[in-house]
Amino acid sequence: MKVSKQEKALTRKRILRAAADVISEKGYKTASMREIARRAEVGDATIYNYFPTKESLLYGYCEEKQRDVAEALTQIETFHEYSLREQLQQLTETELALWLPDREFLTQVFTLTFSAPVAGAVNLAETRRLFNRMVEDMIDAAIEAGEIPDQPYRELLAPLYWDYFTGILAYWLHDDSQDFANTTQLVDRSVEIIATVLQTAMIGKALDLFSFLFRSQISRHLEKLGDYTGPWKKAKRRFMEGESV
């Protein structure tokens, strides 16, 4: 029997959903592929056609979440009219809203990623790429519309926002205020600061200053920063060549 592409996508989604549920309930370590397969109503062997390891399920779910967030954002009809500040805040809030049912799961992801940062960073690469693409889109659109000035080291901004967002998630996971009001406030105020920073292209200016002072030190550290190499390499070239912006 030939399985259509659409069916395949649905099965994939179902497995991920089941994985999130089982991992939330039992914890990552005790959750078994067999139980996840059963919960998703697929054969014990079939699941391996989709996800070869338990790890790939964990991170696959994070990637899926980013696609859901992107989808949810496109559902907002007037989203293109939002200011950059509003767009970034909406992105963050949408992430939080969609992660809410899977808060337990996310805690597991955090624990695993923090206990093995290198492996975690590698495994989350795709999730990060999807997230960053959304942020880049927003920043590019804002620059194109003249809402903010062109940003030096533009390729660094999305990775920085990712780092900020990871911090917000960590805060949120520990937030015990009603309706996570403290997180809402933190996001509201910090996004405003970020918007101001972008408005003044401050990151670029600060980096220019640092590049002048610490050129050699920075470049030495850059070599060690495995995963950020793409954007960092470009930035580094710019540092080293003293290219003006």
Binding site: Y82, Q90, E93, A97, D179, A181, T184, D188
Partner: protein, 431 residues
């Protein structure tokens, strides 16, 4: 100084405002302690300090949103310690639209109704048209075509209130008026907690709508389908806020008429309903073209006991007759406890109460009082006597009812002055 701000709170209450408050309080503390100054220099320094206090408070508040803005507004109403420009800036912020962006609006509606704004309403204006207590107001159309004013509360404001107030207390402590201002802050805190509950406000509004039947006065209907604890939807009344209305340069007749309505509402609510809409800030009234007056924002309503309502005219009469014994006995019956001997009490009456009474009853003696036509501003005079009252430490207990009663009275007088209205004051105040 900076050590006394709990860092946990600071971290929670956010970044920009918190840091600013912190920096400000350090600066103030420093200035307040400067010891080696000659007397004139010290006086200059103090005036300078008052100005600095106001400026720093203002900067900090305008960065924070939500509670802080509200607190600042209340303090500016409350206290004559603030320089004129501060009060002016603050009164502007009553209907300045604070930036509660679309993401938060969306989040709030989703959280309260499980639907996006577009799905809940037939039409929803993403831009707010007015600021309100602890939130902002959006125009919307309901599913049956009804025009609505939808008040949205800042998400998480209830949590923020305590944090912001804590910061505010820390900031106030080193200033010259710490005691006086801190007592205001306690009351403000209580009021804020009441105002946070929009269910309560909806009930108050409906009660007034039923009870307050005066010609030319409108209380908006509540739309419960679109209301929750943090969202309040009412009928959208026509009209302009005070400043905008004054810019249309209304005739003297229109000013007098609408001022009179305000006054009648006050008298009628107090005597007839034993209740006051006790937040007479200019943002709570809508002035319509046809001379109708819209009453908004019933977050702060005070109910009065029959005894109190009965005793107020007795007190006013005693003040008019300048009868010390009657005045003091009326205050006693109202619950005032003063730890003073007879002589001291008499002196207190002569120095503080009588000037206050003379000020208070001036409009009643005039019968028809022209608030526009006062050489020195009438309310400015009042501030002076008012603050004398506030400084008396030996009064342990002044009925809580009194504070709101006086404040409402005072707020109204200020409004009349701004409007330049001429009001008939000969009412049943006096027995």
């Amino acid at each position: 100084m900076s050590d006394s701000i709990p860092t946990g709170k600071l971290a929670r209450t956010g970044i920009a405002g918190g840091a600013l408050l912190k920096a400000g309080s350090r600066q103030l503390g420093h200035a307040a302690k400067r010891p080696f100054l000659s007397e004139p220099a010290r006086r200059d320094q103090r005036l300078q300090l008052d100005d600095d206090t106001a400026r720093i408070l203002f900067q900090a508040f305008s960065r924070l949103r939500g509670t802080a803005l509200k607190i600042a507004q209340m303090l500016s109403m409350e206290s004559n310690l603030m320089p004129e420009w501060f009060r002016r800036e603050m009164s502007k912020s009553y209907h300045q639209v604070p930036p509660l962006g679309r993401p938060l609006v969306r989040k709030l509606i989703l959280q309260e109704f499980g639907k996006t704004p577009e799905a809940l309403f037939a039409r929803f204006e993403p831009e707010a048209f007015a600021a309100a207590s602890l939130g902002q107001v959006h125009a919307a159309t309901g599913q049956d075509g009804e025009e609505l004013a939808v008040k949205l509360q800042y998400p998480g404001i209830d949590v923020a209130i305590d944090n912001d107030l804590q910061l505010l207390r820390t900031l106030i402590k080193p200033t010259r008026y710490a005691k006086l201002m801190l007592s205001s802050v306690d009351e403000i805190e209580q009021r804020l907690h009441e105002e946070v509950d929009y269910h309560q406000e909806a009930d108050n509004t409906e009660w007034f709508r039923r009870q307050l039947q005066l010609p030319g006065v409108k209380v908006p209907a509540i739309h419960r389908d679109y209301s929750s604890k943090h969202v309040l939807a009412t009928e959208h009344l026509p009209g302009l806020h005070l400043e905008a209305w004054l810019e249309t340069d209304p005739t003297q007749q229109a000013r007098d008429r609408i001022g009179q309505r305000l006054y009648d509402i006050f008298v009628h609510s107090f005597y007839g309903l034993h209740a006051l809409h006790a937040d007479p800030n200019p943002g709570n009234y809508l002035f319509a073209d046809d001379g109708n007056l819209g009453l908004l924002d019933f977050g702060c309503v005070r109910y009065y006991s029959a005894d109190f309502v009965e005793l107020i005219p007795v007190l006013l009469r005693a003040y008019m007759e300048r009868d010390a014994k009657k005045v003091i006995s009326a205050y006693r019956r109202l619950g005032m406890v003063a730890e003073m001997g007879e002589d001291e009490l008499q002196a207190f009456y002569d120095e503080v109460l009588q000037p206050f009474g003379d000020w208070l009853t001036k409009p009643f003696k005039a019968g028809r009082f022209n608030f526009a036509n006062q050489g020195t501003s009438y309310t400015a005079e009042g501030w002076a006597t008012f603050s004398q009252l506030a400084k008396v430490r030996k009064i342990n207990n002044l009925a809580n009812e009194f504070i709101y009663f006086d404040r409402t009275f005072f707020g109204l007088y200020q409004l009349f002055e701004r409007m330049g209205a001429c009001i008939d004051m000969e009412h049943q105040w006096l027995v």
